[in-house]
Symmetry: C2
Subunit: 342 residues, 2 copies
Amino acid sequence: MSKTSLPRRRATGRITLEDVARAAEVSAITASRALRGQRSVDPALVARVQAAAQQLGYVPDPAARALASARSTHVAVLIPLLSNALFVDLLEAVQHTLVPAGYQMMIGVTHYKPEEEEALLRSYLAHRPAGLLVTGFDRTDAARRLIEDSGLPCVHLMETARVGGIYSVGLSQHEAGRAITEHLVSRGHRRIAFAAGQLDPRVMQRAEGYRSALRAHGLYDPALELLTPEPTSMALGARLLERLLRERPDADAAFFCNDDLAQGALLAALRLQVPVPQRLAVVGFNDLNGSDQMLPPLTTVRTPRQQIGQQAATMLLQLMRGVTPPAACVDVGFELVLRGSS
Amino acid sequence: MSKTSLPRRRATGRITLEDVARAAEVSAITASRALRGQRSVDPALVARVQAAAQQLGYVPDPAARALASARSTHVAVLIPLLSNALFVDLLEAVQHTLVPAGYQMMIGVTHYKPEEEEALLRSYLAHRPAGLLVTGFDRTDAARRLIEDSGLPCVHLMETARVGGIYSVGLSQHEAGRAITEHLVSRGHRRIAFAAGQLDPRVMQRAEGYRSALRAHGLYDPALELLTPEPTSMALGARLLERLLRERPDADAAFFCNDDLAQGALLAALRLQVPVPQRLAVVGFNDLNGSDQMLPPLTTVRTPRQQIGQQAATMLLQLMRGVTPPAACVDVGFELVLRGSS
DNA sequence: CTGAAAGCGCTTACAG
DNA sequence: CTGAAAGCGCTTACAG
């Protein structure tokens, strides 16, 4: 029987830290420290508190915790799009790492618009997240300042950092674009087109990689670039292929900036009876779902997005705990997946 | 110059309701009521408070609000999978409706496992969400009780409610499965297969629709059902088609429970030179991205998931505001999309 | 229609 | 290593 007990039920009927402390016969603050696994608590007391919490079914109140500590268990995650499988895979990996560690994601979709990102950042920051996960480096100055001034740990996804003092996990989009283009050249192709939609910063980095590879071989021809700001889709891929055949029937290969475009192009080629890869080689980017099922199967660049999500979340976890990560910038690389279309 | 002012800066340096109240020369509680748009505040005061808040750049603290009111601005959303485009579309629609109304989503992925859903529910409930959005009706008794006991507004997604006192927005999966099967029968097909993966409750409801349609015509043959618990994918669709051709070469049509399976099957048919729809008609379900680009384009059932997300979120918003929605169960229906594959 | 008081459940310094 | 006090920023009854 506890000597200090005195029911004193709260209006809400919730089981509170105080209840746990009373059951364990310690003060509330000791119970708090014991439960949070803080150093400098007698192991015997820790055990007693944990047992009491367990037995009472105590669940800490995140709101009270956030209010008292000025820090929540939320991590704001800002991605461009939910309708691109790439980012969905990324999110799943982030969630897998963050949730078991006791954090929740607040997902924001920016639609590739810096102003939307800035607005989201502003509203999410009001929730006092414990950390930030943002996509790439393309944002407004105000957004950059918001991140900076918040003082919160922040990890950048998808690309590799070009500046110091910035945490990032990604890959060199430029290098990947260069490598797949180099592959086409090595296969003997000479008039290699680049077809792209969306035209976000990472697509343009791939474009630069494509250009530098072709320039190195004296094969660069700006008229072989088909760029449109429309969002990518299989339907757009089909239209881009048709446009390519019309405008540059002499093209012997085409690099599509994303697999959905390439898949659409492959189906259009089938429809138009354009032999792939004999008359036209086709390659994509990202190795999305279904690319291996195409006819012929699509050659593409595999981007390890699960790894990006997992490593970025791990890095953020370390930063939130005040631990310095081994490296500020992690390059997860990429892999050429050579299949029948090239 | 304010008569009541007295700096009294907080340690955190945040702009608080008190600051706003002081600037507007009202009490904190009046400022609170004015900002929340509650009735029974003098319009002149409301204007003064709003102006002060605006000018100071006041942002309410969600944690303090949640602690004081025992209710947060979070809505827990539980879906089976993030890797099914169907649910991503649903989420986007929910977000579009909820975020402008001042709510945040906490997204949980259950992987079609009732135990995972129950665990997520338990942990999300600790965050005192303002409302719940869950998928379908298939859950553990404990989960049902958690929802019930929480007393929180809850709307069920995807299916239509079979019981009273339950809010739902969806469509009759049974009816949709029946309709697409009926379409195949009306086209003269007699040996119609049903191929499915995942086997979640909604897939099984479609299966029942398929069965009842065929039974009505005396065409039902259990040996034409190819069921596997594997998650759906284009690759699985290809394998199911191959199995069908091997086991039942006499089949003249196949209903795939999801478009990714049907797309994979269509590509496999192309590879194996099986003429679609001449030798075998193929239909899918959900009208996912790319189905219109297939060769031939895929006949399927369009499920209005954006509408489900939007209407469910709207209904939840009403419930959270204490308003009774016009209907407890909204059937958004479905649409047969007849294309070349059938 | 408006306000003073109390409290939501936790953690942060500050002592010892 | 442990605790008493104060406070985080808001809202809920309760008065008037």
